[in-house]
């Protein structure tokens, strides 16, 4: 793991004080595609996570959004050390755990836990809820007689009845199961919880319950969240900062409010535009807003066209260029670096939106920018007015 000595991702923090809880540097996770007889040859690689540098502060919630298949889950699994990184490093509380074995990871496991997307698949259908929640306690040596009380307390904590400990997962609704998942994650009182699309599989009305629960828990216990989702409206509610991924790369990282009011990357903008707003009037108003170029117009707003590209053979230059309405020759050839804008807002785009020319000129290449990115900074001329709802 040879990462050049350069300023750590701490630089992308909002406030540059303490060390971040988790630091990911130039992380690459490629999945080889093997074929062949007897001796399998690698015929290609899925570029699931491609040179991502990221930090998560103690106590914050980092939202991670992006289309299905862009590598969100892989990134979170890599942070959890459930998948081996191909390149790059992962630090937890400053300690490099990139190559830690099971032994070394064990104490770390207490500190970081995961809640999975699918509440149906993430609970062992053959175990009682109590056993499921007890498992981490047992693994980490909690005394046997304490465990039942702890389980009961955890269940209460996530809004379930202690008697539920004797039931099997299939006897619960999706929302309740997700609560069990949360309880399991909380069992060891970790500092970091990675939430991989914890609400995507749930109905809107239940989503809200879970998000509120997560909110409360964070307030009470000072947890740090990595919250993965593909629904920008959900992420906004819970996140302090949001990172936008596309095809294994970070497109934009920004404080939550900032991202919605002033998306810089055209991809972020497209995502935001695509969110249907449950308000007929607002929709109609949005329709009146002038459309950007390219894509299929929808209510007059630019909707990104085309289909997601193949992660085995990602496009050259900016990975978003084939679908980008603003793409130019430059985008095709040169990968844009993550550039730093005002307010801790990072974006990797040659033709940023919503930034003034001066601001563009003032941008600097962020240290967390992919190693592979070129040195060409955003082109000030392309900056445009903001997209807003108000």
């Amino acid at each position: 793991m040879s990462v050049k000595a350069e300023p750590g991702p701490g630089d992308i923090r909002r406030t540059g004080a303490s060390k971040p809880l988790v630091e990911v540097r130039h992380l690459k996770v490629f999945f080889p595609i093997r074929q062949g007889f007897l001796v399998e040859r690698e015929v290609g690689r899925v570029h699931a996570v491609n040179d991502v540098t990221l930090g998560i502060e103690q106590g914050e919630t980092l939202g991670l959004v992006g289309e299905s298949g862009c590598g969100k889950t892989t990134l979170s699994r890599a942070i959890m050390r459930l998948v081996d990184p191909t390149k790059g490093s992962i630090r937890f509380r400053g300690e490099d755990i990139t190559e830690a074995g099971r032994r070394r990871l064990e104490p770390m496991r207490r500190e970081m836990q995961m809640v999975f997307q699918d509440p149906f698949a993430s609970l062992n259908p053959r175990k009682r809820v109590g056993q499921i929640i007890r498992m981490p306690l047992r693994l980490h040596g909690a005394p046997r007689d304490e465990a039942p009380d702890r389980v009961r307390e955890l269940l209460r904590r996530v809004g379930l009845h202690p008697e539920h400990a004797n039931r099997y997962p299939h006897e619960f609704s999706g929302g309740q199961r997700q609560r069990i998942g949360v309880a399991r994650a909380l069992a060891l009182e970790p500092s970091l919880i990675v939430l991989d699309e914890p609400v995507s599989a749930l109905d809107v009305s239940v989503q809200a319950q879970i998000i509120n629960l997560l909110d409360d828990l964070q307030d009470d216990m000072g947890l740090t969240y990595l919250f993965v989702a593909h629904d920008l409206s959900v992420v906004r509610h819970i996140s302090d900062r949001i990172a936008v991924m596309y095809l294994g790369k970070l497109m934009e990282v920004s404080p939550a409010q900032e991202l919605y009011s002033k998306p810089i990357h055209p991809y972020t903008s497209a995502l935001l535009t695509a969110i249907p707003i449950p308000d007929p009037e607002a929709n109609r108003r949005r329709g009146r807003v002038a459309a950007g170029g390219g894509g299929t117009p929808r209510g007059g707003v630019a909707v990104v066209g085309g289909e997601p590209p193949n992660p085995v053979d990602p496009p050259s230059g900016c990975v978003f260029h084939p679908r980008c309405p603003r793409a130019t020759e430059l985008c095709r050839e040169v990968e844009p670096p993550l550039a730093r804008y005002r307010g801790g807002h990072l974006a990797a785009c040659h033709h940023p939106l919503n930034v003034s020319r001066e601001e563009t000129v003032a941008t600097t290449r962020d240290p967390s920018s992919p190693l592979s990115a070129g040195d060409v900074l955003p082109d000030g001329a392309a900056a445009e007015g903001s997209l807003g709802t108000s």
Binding site: Q35, G36, F37, L38
Partner: protein
Amino acid sequence: MARFVVRRLLSMLVVLFAVSVLTFLIFNVIPGGDPALRMAGRQPDPAQLERIREDWGFDEPVYVQYLKTMGQLFSGELVSYSTQQNVVAEIGKRLGRTFSLAIGAAIMWMAFATALGLYTAIRAGRLSDRLLTILALVGISMPVFWVGALMNYYLGFKAGIFPNGDYVPLGEDPLEWLYHLILPWTALSLLFIGVYSRVLRSNVLDTLSEDYVRTARAKGLSERRVLVRHVLRNSMIPIVTLWGLDFGAVLGGGAILTEAVFDLQGVGQYVAESVDQLDVPPVLAVTMFGAFFIVLLNTVVDIVYAVLDPRIRLT
């Protein structure tokens, strides 16, 4: 596709190799009879035995014997230890019988099983389905040698409707061929009809609940077309795999019991007799022959599978 075939051929070699080694080991390492004794005839003296061992290489290390035997097998010179007959020629002689049995039965069980499976699936839950399902289970539960023997006794011997045993080559008299094979086919098919119809039934039931079948209905297709084009086709795919495996096994002499009961003198019976005498060459040849067909049919099935289901890539 070409690569797939090459790959499969290679893996076939591996399987054949493993099977041959296994056979050889079973008979050579686990001590059994001494083939030299069998060749020596009556009252051989030790010198004579020694000579035979030398001539046949029984005194050589096992791997040398193995290599020699395999060499002879592939050059078609391998002879049986106990009868001294050329093994390949013997198999060749019995091929027609085994193939007749296998092909006819395979067609028979496939046809009946398809009809039965489809019918019971469509009538799922009703009385006729339940009865037929139990009937299918009866088919599965009856040992072929028993059914065969009873058929032979009641239909062949007592009623005299069918000949019991024997075989008439197709080329000699097609009608007699058919007549002589009806009982063996039926006996062999009963089991498979049971298994296949049940697998097909549940496949059809599953397919019936597939979304695309609903789509097909929503398109306004006739029920018949929905059943044949959408349901049956997709339900048959797993059956084809099974069918290939079983057909391969029977082609390769796997229907030992059927052949024995009806005294068809096919490849299976040959090997069963040879095994009794611990006669390695025929056993080796037939197991390889059998494994060859199993692997071959497996490959064919995979190709057919890929044709039937374009999602499958042959790699």
